[in-house]
Structure formats: C-alpha cells, structure tokens
C-alpha cells in the first residue's frame, strides 16, 4: 500500500567530488585553467584581468575600457567585429566590476579557433574610436538614468556608499553626468596601464580537447603584451556611515529596503560557518525571512540575505521590496528574526534541513562545465584558488551546531554596526 504521508527516504552526499584544475603557466606570464566537462559541443573562454574600477582615476574608466574592447581594434572596425562573431554564432560578454575586468566568449567548440583569433585582437589592440565612445556613453547614460528611476537601484547604491564611504573604491558609483567626461584618451590610457598578459587568467570550460587548448595557448598564451597587474595592492580602510538612511521617492508603490554591514572575508575562519547562519536567516526559499515576511505576512514578493564577495571585503546585505504601507512592519520583523537567531538555539530539524539544502547547493554549483567554471572563478577571485575552501564549507555544513550559530549571529549581526537604507514614498524611521 502506497503511503503518501511519508517522504521517500533521502540520502545526503557524504563527499562531493570537486574538480581541482591546476594552473598551467604560459610563456607570456598568463595562466590557464581547463575545465573539460560536458557532452554538448560548446565551450566558454573567460579571461580575467586585475582591472576593475578600483584601479581607475576617473569614474567609468574600467567599465568603459572593457566594454568598448570589441568596438574597434587596430585591424578591425566595430561593425566588422560584431559581424564576425555573429556569423560564427559566438557570443561575447565584456564587463568590469569593482575588482576585475572580464572578457567572456561562448562558442560552438567547432568554431573555437575563429573565436580566439578575433578575441586576441579585442583584448590586445582596442583603439576606442571617438564615435564609438560617444555612442556607448550616450546609451550608458540613458540606461543609468532609467535604472536610477528604480527604488531598488538607489537603495543598493546607498547601502554600499554608507558601508564603505562614498570615496572608497567599493562605495563609489558613477552618475549619469560621468558619462559626459570620458574620452578616447582616458580609455586608451587605462587599457595601456592595466591590461596585459602578466596576471591575466584564462579559463577554458566545456567540451575541450588538447587541440583546443593548444589553440588557446597560441592566441592568448604566447606573446607578451601590455602592462597587466598582479592585483596585489591592498584596499584602503572603509569609512562607514552607520545608522538609518532614507531617500524619498514620491509615488513609489513599494519601498526598497537594504540592511547590511561589512562582515569577515571569505578567507576568515568564521566565513563558512557564517554563510550557513546567513542561509538560515535569508539565504534560501525556506529561510526565516521568507517564511515570516513573504509566506506568513505577504508583505513582499521576495526577501533575501546575501553575502556579497569582493576581492578584499565581504558585505552582508538583506534586501527586499515591500508594499509601501508595510515598510515599518517589515523592518521590525527583519530585526525580530535577527534577534531570534541570536537568542534561540536553532531547532535541530531546521538545522538538518539547512545541511541537506546546502549540500545540494554545493552539488549544483559544480553541475556542468559552466557552473563549475563560475565556482572556480569565485575561488580564484576571492580565495586565491584555495581548494580547501570547499572542504571547510562542507565541514561547516555538516558540523555547525546551534551554539555556534548564536555565537556568530551575536558577533556579526548587530544593529550598531549596520546600515539601514529605505527608498520609498514615506520615511519609516
């Protein structure tokens, strides 16, 4: 007789096989990592440079000099480049965040040589034609202006600004008028002094043979070029402005709420335990914040608590958009949940649920070549490719106890060290 009231037995993986590719040192000072997985004939090429916005002297230099790489090189015009990639069915993504610039190409494996050939020109010899810079800037300015119309964008910027300080590399944001100030010379200058073979890391993932690896080495790993940075310089101390911040946005039907602070870095001994504690609070669908504020009260479509990794810092951010008339109650409930985490030991059933959920998450983060590549890029950027990070994480998932969670909540989740930002029609504070 079928017993529908009983969940079928579940097994939780004891050990997860995590691929640990080693660096291949290339002649020109770049390094290569290869993740050969998958059944479909596709692959991805990532190239990482220590050329994020922290190294710029003027706002937007990093993101503009990366984004405009495919918009004209010594040998090819922007249109020729986009025609070429489109024809071969390759997709190019170029972007820079606060720490890193990243060039990504997706290609059918059978077209990897064609893709690499043009990729080489883009990263080594962009010319930043004035017309292209102008079009890029005018589009970027429009996009940002539209983004700034959203309560969520303003709230996010406020959070970073108040946690790090508005002149800190991690707390700084470009405004629409900054787009008027960039020029060809800025960008060429930034490229010349921040991009190069030294310090660059290439990651090949997908269904890859030795021939493909040799092709990548030929185009990207042989000749020395540019002035790459090793990215070893430290960042200045943050200068937080703690407490409550409100930005008025008339007529908004929802308020954006962001609450957060700087927490320990990914290399710190507390980190993996803290990320388990954070998952409990707001890191998955069944988290306490979701259960209370969405599933019990219906104040929001979603709420989460995130550990945001930067190269030299980690930020904790609780984030939600709530109906404007629920703003006060929602903030109250967030603090109530944090308080509960500090004072009440977590019931074992809930803790076991978290253990299985997180084990599944780790499995999923290595499911397929591109998920694996993303996880390894994370390790590379934030843990110096220290593979023991995942052993520590699995150890925390398996063995963390209720007392340790209370200890960490008391150590890291304190109202006195947090920033609270609300953007909405009415000040809740």
């Amino acid at each position: 007789m079928l017993n529908r009231a009983q969940q079928p037995p579940v097994k939780i993986a004891e050990h997860i096989n995590i691929p640990q590719p080693a660096f291949i040192n290339l002649k020109n000072g770049s390094k290569l990592l290869v993740i050969n997985e998958g059944d479909v004939d596709v692959c991805r090429i990532d190239i990482l440079f220590n050329a994020g916005s922290r190294y710029q002297t003027q706002k937007l230099e990093a993101v503009a000099s990366t984004s405009l790489m495919p918009e004209g090189t010594k040998k090819y015009t922007s249109q020729q480049i986009s025609e070429y990639f489109d024809f071969w069915g390759s997709f190019i993504n170029v972007n820079a965040d606060k720490d890193f610039a990243r060039v990504t190409a997706y290609t059918l494996t059978k077209h990897i040589s064609q893709t690499l050939d043009r990729l080489e020109h883009i990263i080594k010899e962009p010319t930043y034609p004035t017309d292209e810079v102008r079009v890029w800037a005018s589009r970027g300015k429009q996009n940002l202006t539209v983004q700034l119309d959203k309560t969520s964008t303003i709230a996010r910027m406020e959070l970073f600004k108040n946690i790090y300080g508005e002149n800190h590399p991690y707390g700084m944001f470009a405004m629409p008028t900054d787009y008027d100030k960039i020029s060809r010379e800025n960008l060429a200058g930034f490229h010349a002094s921040n991009f190069g073979s030294e310090g660059a890391i290439i990651i090949l993932s997908g269904k890859i043979s030795d021939t493909h690896i040799n092709e990548a080495v030929k185009y990207l790993g042989t000749a020395k070029w540019g002035n790459g940075k090793l990215g070893s310089n430290a960042i200045e101390d943050s200068n937080p402005n703690l407490g409550k911040q409100f930005v008025k946005k008339d007529n908004a039907v929802q308020s954006a709420i962001r609450i957060g602070c700087e927490v320990c870095h990914r290399t710190h001994p507390d980190f993996t335990d803290l990320s388990v504690a954070n998952t409990l609070l707001g890191g998955y669908f069944g988290s306490r914040l979701m259960k209370n504020i969405r599933e019990d009260k219906g104040y929001t479509y979603g709420i989460g608590s995130y550990m945001v990794s930067l190269r030299d810092s980690t930020l904790l951010a609780i984030s939600t958009e709530v109906g404007a008339n629920f703003t006060k109650n929602a903030i109250h409930e967030i603090w109530k949940e944090i308080d509960r985490l500090k004072k009440e030991p977590v019931p074992l059933a809930e803790l076991n649920k978290i253990r299985s959920h997180l084990t599944g998450e780790v499995l999923r983060s290595f499911n397929g070549p591109f998920a694996t590549a993303d996880s390894i890029i994370g390790l590379l950027n934030y843990n110096n490719l220290d593979y023991s990070f995942h052993d520590r994480l699995m150890n925390s998932i398996k063995h963390i106890n209720p007392e340790r969670i209370m200890e960490l909540a008391n150590k890291w989740f304190n109202q006195e060290t947090m920033v609270e930002c609300v953007v909405g029609p009415e000040n809740p504070f």
Partner: protein, 412 residues
Amino acid sequence: MISFERFTLDNGLKVIVHTDKSMPIVAFNILYNVGAKHEDPNRTGFAHLFEHLMFGGSVNAPNYDEPVEQAGGENNAFTSNDITNYYLTLPKENIETAFWLESDRMLSLAFSQKSLDVQKNVVIEEFNQRYLNQPYGDVWLHLRPLAYKVHPYQWPTIGKTPEHIASATLTEVKNFFYSHYAPNNAILCVAGDISANEVITMANKWFGPIPSRELELKSIEKEPKQNEFRSLELTRNVPYNSIYKAYHMCSKNHSDFAATDLLSDILSNGKSSRLFQNLVKQKNIFSNIDAFITGDNDEGLFIITGRLNDDYSFEKAEAAIEQELEIIKTNSITEYELEKVKNKFESSFTFGLTSANEIALNLCQYDLLGDAHMLNSVVSTYRQVAIADIEKVAKAIFTRNNCSTLYYKSEK
C-alpha cells in the same frame, strides 16, 4: 541529438525520459496545459495565482518546500499565457521525493484560507514590483489589449488588475484546480542519470493511482484579422520616450514560424543586426532597439521596441523603423546575412540545451505542441528557410493595418 523514451500512463499522464549518465543532478519537469489564456476574462491572473497556491501544501504532504530542501533539491515554477510549468532538480539518489510531492499535489491540494490570503498578498506585491514600481513596467498591461480584442492573450499572466486577484475565493480556486490539474492534462519529463525503467516504475507507483479528470475544455476564440491601425499614447514619469509596435504573426506550429523568427533575428539579434547598426550606431535615433517574437503557442506578436534619444520625435523614430521594415521586404536580404542568423540560432539553441532542466522543459514543450521529436529537428527546420520565405513573411506582417503602436511618453 537528444535521445528520449516516451510513454503514457493509463490515466493519460504523458511521461518522457532523457537519460544522461554525466548529469549527477536529475531534473524533474511537469508541465500543465493551463495558462492565462484559459482564464475567465473577469477572473484574470488566476493561473498564476494558482501556481503560488501549489506551494501551500497538498493533501498528504502539508509542506512542499521543506521535503525538497531536505532532499538537497531546488524547485520553482512559472506561468505563461499558454502553460504552467513546475520543475525540480535533485541529487539523483533523492529523485523519488519529486514523484511523491508532485503526485500528491496533482491528487489534491490542501486548500487553506490562510494560504490563499497570504498568496493573494504576495502576488499583489509581485504585481507592484514587476508592473507598477518599474519604469515602463506597465507596457504589457496596455499593449496586449490594444493588439488583441478577442483572444485571451489580451491580458498578461499577472492579470488585468490586482483587483481580480484580491477577490478570488476558495471555491473558485478549487474549481480551477479540478478542471485543469489532472494527469490527462500534464506532461512529465525526467532528465539526468536515471533509466527509463526507473522512471516508469516510479511514475506508475506515484502517479498511476490518480484517476483522470474531466477537463474544462473551453475553446479559445481566434483573434480576427486586424483591419485598422491602432495606437495608444501613455504619459508617465519616465526619463525617455519609448515606442512599441506590435504586429500579429503566426502560431508556433505554423510553417512560417521559423522564417518569422529569423526575420526578427536579421532585424535585431546581435550587434551586427540591421536595427542596431542603422538606427542606434549610425543614425543615433534610438539608444536601444529590439525586435522579437513573443513565441506563443497560438498566434503571437512580432514586437519592435525602441527607446528614443532626446533629439528625435516619435514621428521621426517611427518613420525610421518603418523604413527598415520596408527595405527588408524586397531584395535586401543576402545569403550571407541569412547564413549568419542561422548560425547564430544554432549556437543559442545548442547552448540552451546544456543542462538537464533545459532539456526536460524543452521536451515537455515540444510534446505539448504535438511531438517531442521536434526538438531534434528544429535546427534543420531553420536551416531550410530561404530568403523568399522571410520576404513573404515580412510583406504579410509589416502592414499598417496589422500594427498596434504604443507611444510611451516621458512627462519631462
């Protein structure tokens, strides 16, 4: 080539299995043939509200999410105008939990007033967050009823207004469930490191005992041919003017579908595409422009949308779009251009089948359209499209009387 086995249980549930030993995470996808187009025009947003209620516990399993989390799994769902789709991924050892939970909520929901009240609120906040609290967020609330006068695609999945959601009662919810959620109205696909035999055994064990149900088979009226140019002007507190042009096009099963899709790609897929090169890069009339098809199962829309640069009026911008649409109708598409969009299609299609859940969803969707095997012939269908096919479609679609235009005006 995506290989699979397909069988049907006695109660009408269709089951598809794709075995791939290299995928340690198994995907479980169940598609119900119910979407916003099956709703009563005075009760819109129901299919989507229902998707939320499906997570409120079922008759024997009071909680849906917790057992999934205990099994190390992940789950979610989406509702479109055509379908409601639920999916889970689980470590392969624990896949039976998906059979247990999904069969139990197909059997019957718990139907609690509390769950209904809370999910009504959550959905209204979703309405606020996605449609009202975003610049340009309400476009589809206005463009759909402009283009469709008869067919239920005239409202978005979230519904016409939050009031429809707010007034839903528990009785209506129950009726909706029993007339749409049934083994004979669903397609299940399991993909990953699992054999067809294992799936057959578990499907029979968990879904087999659920009796088939009498479905509400309301026929959906076809949208009559549009015979006049329609337009609407909205003024909103947004930074820039935007234009949206919607042209009626064929259904997904139609032999012109691939040509129509490639037509949209020639116009705007990728930075080398015509609209981007000509209207953004060269003439600088728009800061963004896009042409795409809605890809609905019934007769859908071909949309062209652009955000205007400040120096250009709606009139000039619209004329520039229309000029491009005129040009593409005769003797302008080259073999090279066609080859390019076909290559690009093949590439994105291939990249779209790299995970177990994408494969499972696609197999279910093609099966609903008539045959899961179509998944393996899509690329060759696109490869066979000729320039003349695309020109024919362009001539048929891009006429003034087939167009609904929304002028979305900035207050500033």
